[in-house]
């Protein structure tokens, strides 16, 4: 399929347009004849799939500036939806999802590996864990003051800002952190080479989970590592 593609139609529409229409079916053999050498070198990354296999993939020069323009607006809009949830549609969940989508956008434009270097694992985990802890802490402050869980009028701030702080520091952080984490996790894929914790020293908790899940009839195999390795082969 890729053998039959015309050899040049991306850079110079005016100069080589006539050649396109006629040599659309006879491959790349005559390419050195009708293309100047410097252009052949410049375009060598785009010949056909066999020749392209060795060349590195270049990120698109069109997508990157667009993402540079759109991403700040989208991130600001996510913040707006999060912070302005009390007066307009939206809230922490929606704003967190939009902010996570901005990270997806950046990752698709600039490469997932570069984004992974830029956005460290610590940040993602801190967002998810910190969000959960912040929600729990906001809920437990009234308990410490002798009230009920999440009784906002016992907070030292007005009730409205209590709700807002739950949305902002709690839900938005959890949702954006977990969604970014899922994205990087799925981009990495399954750890099939044993580098995950399938053979690590984390036996007890995992075995307990497996017992609860699927081995009700043989619940006494708490120290048996076989459920984990089974999971690795699936």
């Amino acid at each position: 399929m890729s053998d039959a593609r015309p050899n040049d139609r991306d850079d110079e529409p005016g100069g080589t347009g006539a050649v396109d229409g006629e040599s659309g079916d006879n491959g790349t053999d005559e390419k050195p004849d009708d293309v100047p050498p410097h252009r052949a070198v410049a375009r060598s990354g785009r010949l056909d799939s066999e020749q392209r296999q060795g060349t590195p993939y270049t990120e698109s020069q069109v997508i990157m500036p667009t993402v540079k323009i759109v991403a700040p607006f989208a991130f600001t809009f996510g913040l707006f939806v999060t912070f302005h949830g009390s007066g307009s549609p939206g809230g922490g969940f929606q704003g967190g999802a939009i902010m996570a989508a901005v990270v997806f956008m950046i990752a698709f434009a600039f490469g997932i590996e570069a984004t992974r270097d830029w956005l460290a694992n610590t940040v993602v985990v801190a967002l998810a864990v910190g969000g959960t802890l912040a929600f729990a802490a906001i809920g437990l402050i009234p308990v410490a003051r002798g009230g009920a869980f999440l009784q906002y009028d016992l907070l030292p701030i007005p009730v409205k800002y209590g709700l807002e702080s739950v949305e902002v520091f709690g839900i938005a952080a959890i949702v954006s952190g977990v969604l970014m984490g899922l994205f990087f996790l799925l981009a990495n894929g399954f750890a099939s080479d044993g580098s995950g914790f399938g053979d690590g020293g984390t036996g007890d908790d995992i075995d307990d989970i497996d017992d609860i899940d699927d081995t009700d009839e043989s619940a006494s195999t708490g120290s048996d590592p076989s459920p984990v390795t089974d999971g690795g082969e699936r």
Binding site: Y57, F77, S88, I98, F108, A187
Partner: protein, 101 residues
């Protein structure tokens, strides 16, 4: 009396007219669904869904205007900002060399 309640033609107000226009855009979207279903290549499908997304931005904006709820424009803004994510994701997805994804 706002613009939405002004009579336009044949007893219909501007708001009802905008609702009909939105329905017309939805009918066009149903037509474009043919290309999303038929293909034949994945790029055709993504292209059709991308056009559907732009259509939906207009539909949501028309609904917000017709119901005279300007905050509903936020929903259209989300689609306008995030709709091209699927297209650029597909553009990475179909590249097979070097394990880009």
């Amino acid at each position: 009396m706002s613009v939405v309640d002004t009579a336009l033609v044949a007893g219909y107000t501007v708001g009802e007219f905008l609702l009909f226009a939105a329905a017309g855009f939805v009918v066009l979207a149903i037509g474009m669904l043919y290309r999303a279903v038929k293909g034949p290549t994945m790029q055709d499908r993504v292209l059709a869904v991308n056009v559907l997304g732009t259509n939906t931005v207009v539909i949501l904006a028309l609904l917000a205007a017709a119901l005279s709820e300007p905050t509903f424009l936020d929903i259209a803004l989300v689609y306008a900002l995030l709709n091209f994510l699927m297209a650029i994701a597909i553009s990475k997805f179909t590249v097979e060399r070097g394990g880009v994804l």
